[in-house]
Symmetry: C2
Subunit: 372 residues, 2 copies
């Protein structure tokens, strides 16, 4: 079995391009990972997700542990087989969603007790259980359990939370053990405080991980602050390991983060926005509910070859969005994922050619239309 | 441009197989037409509908006239281009859905006034307007406007309604005029009264149509009565024209109707049932909500090659149905349409081989599992 490995191919400023090798296939970086929350990228068949250019999906431990359950997925052959996706899968630890979705959380040193948002049953997640679930799922890249403090937390609160997250990171790594071909990533926390981010990075490096994520961002701090945190954090991460910015973001966020040295992203924005009638295009964001599209015979984006652009007019998309037809969710999700992947492809090519700043400027210059 | 034409290839008892030739492609008969109500077969991309084996779709005049509007579709290049389907399309006249969906109907000799179920605007449909809309849509097979009396109507009421429908049929045909490569079908009414059905068939033949539909069935009369009506009606229809049983039905209804000489069907059952978690299979009807499927690693139907059967377990389908994931609607709709098409394929092959009674018996013997 192939080992998990990261090869850096080229850099341009702080931006980098390369490939993460896994037994289930290569992941070209910078990579965008579509979110397959409950064992499905919403409104997409797995083969269609692959057609958009995705090399890897993200699965959510929190959702899968509650329904259908990690042990059940394991009995049915693991998450890849269960959801019909044979490429690599990264799973989060469940921590973020326990904090944001569940009720009656009680966090102590051991872990977090909570009630399922689906049926109210009491559940428990510890670093050891989070890693056990990810192993049962058969995840290729497993994330440590961390605590996710709110954006409004004080520096003192963040410091206490960070210390707990670092102890949990150590326990998570120990629970991960040795799994050939699979990786365990640590997660840098520390809010918007540069010294805490640096401390977190150094402690994680001390434990030793296959990759390093930056968590606790895109929670309301705004793009400028997020970029400051990246500037203060990325230099402290090892050059020879993938860097993953969790839960980010808009196309413009991705461009800025790639320029700052990020290799991996996940975000629900392309899929969720698609289900809300919003399309990301080279020309900017279009809201297909807008009546100005009712008689528009043009495709969403004439440079895009996805089914939404190849076969349908904006007039049709407007109609199916207004009529709440399922095909609207399918087509706009597909288009948005294809757009995100094409953005990654352009950035990778720009880094390889030494022109990534021009590519970034070209993308930004194109984003003039905005219906938000 | 090719003319609209019907070739009969083989018969077996009253069952027949052949092909309807249209400029947009051939329709193998007996044919099942998926319903594309509002310019989409719900939860399916047009290429996927084609992959299930469908040769022709049905579009609903009532829905399309209200939203996005026939003139708008015409401006955007016609229904085929609008909805991304280049094969033949049959459109109904809107009459049935005016009766079943709209409010404040007022029917007189001229036509029917009604209020849109979407926004309450007052609308009017006459035989002339129904045909104009279908021409604007670019429909390949256009249906006359008829009145659809309720199942509980008396013989006298049905007789009065039938007389109106026959006058409307004549006006519809005149409004259709001559459209090369396109067809106009009459609709036999007459409730469950054999003499009225016969009279209706004869009057329509007197007007002269490219095909003959049987309407007013599958409205609550039950399968036995429906089959009696077919037995009383089909012998009075010309052998050299396609026969279309409107709005039918369950797999067992289709088998029985094919044996009685029907060539074409449409029904929302496979798509609507799919969205409700129900799957039609060789072994019978399965309700994927049923907890007995939660740990079932088997495919829905191991003889089916649709994506739902090729890539996923019943356990997965149960999960996504329970979690209300969009992929559940997509996969079960696809499977059900594939199953309906495979049933038609088997029946056509059976008729061609002189073994259609055996094929029918084999299908019925297989339908043992039932979760309804």
């Amino acid at each position: 079995m192939t080992a998990f490995d990261f090869e850096l191919h080229a850099t341009g400023g702080n931006a980098r391009t390369g490939v993460i090798r896994t037994p289930r296939g290569d992941i070209r970086t910078p990579a965008f990972m579509p979110v397959g929350t409950a064992a499905t990228v919403k409104a997409m068949l797995p083969d269609s997700v692959r057609e958009t250019g995705a090399d890897i999906l993200l699965g959510n431990t929190y959702h899968l542990m509650l329904r259908p359950g990690a042990e059940r997925i394991a009995r049915l052959g693991g998450l890849h087989r269960f959801m019909g996706w044979d490429g690599p899968i990264l799973t989060d630890s469940g921590g973020f969603q326990v904090m944001s979705l569940s009720k009656l959380r009680k966090i102590d040193e051991d872990g977090v007790k909570f009630r399922s948002h689906i049926d109210g049953t009491e559940e428990f997640l510890s670093p050891e259980r989070a890693m056990e679930i990810q192993r049962l799922l058969g995840s290729d890249i497993q994330m440590v359990l961390d605590e996710c403090p709110s954006f409004s937390a004080t520096q003192k609160q963040i410091e206490i939370s960070l210390a707990l997250s670092m102890r949990w990171a150590k326990r998570s790594k120990a629970a991960f053990g040795e799994q050939t071909g699979r990786a365990c990533f640590g997660i840098v926390q520390g809010g918007t405080f540069a010294p805490l981010r640096r401390r977190s990075a150094e402690e994680l490096i001390g434990i030793g991980f296959d990759g390093y994520a930056i968590g606790g961002l895109a929670v309301g701090e705004g793009q400028a602050v997020m970029f400051e945190v990246l500037d203060a954090t990325v230099p402290h991460l090892p050059k020879d390991r993938p860097r993953y910015l969790m839960g980010v973001g808009k196309p413009d966020d991705l461009v800025g983060a790639v320029l700052r040295g990020i290799d991996m992203f996940d975000c629900v924005l392309p899929t969720r926005s698609g289900r809300n009638g919003q399309a990301f295009t080279r020309a900017g964001t279009l809201n297909l509910r807008n009546a100005r599209f009712a008689d528009d015979p043009a495709p969403l984006d004439d440079a895009c070859s996805c089914p939404a652009c190849a076969r349908f007019s904006r007039g049709y998309l407007h109609h199916v969005v207004k009529a709440k037809e399922i095909i609207a969710l399918m087509l706009l999700t597909w288009h948005n994922l294809a757009y995100y992947q094409s953005l990654m492809t352009q950035l990778r090519a720009g880094i390889a050619a030494g022109t990534v700043e021009n590519v970034a400027a070209g993308c930004r210059a194109g984003w003039v239309e905005a219906d938000e």
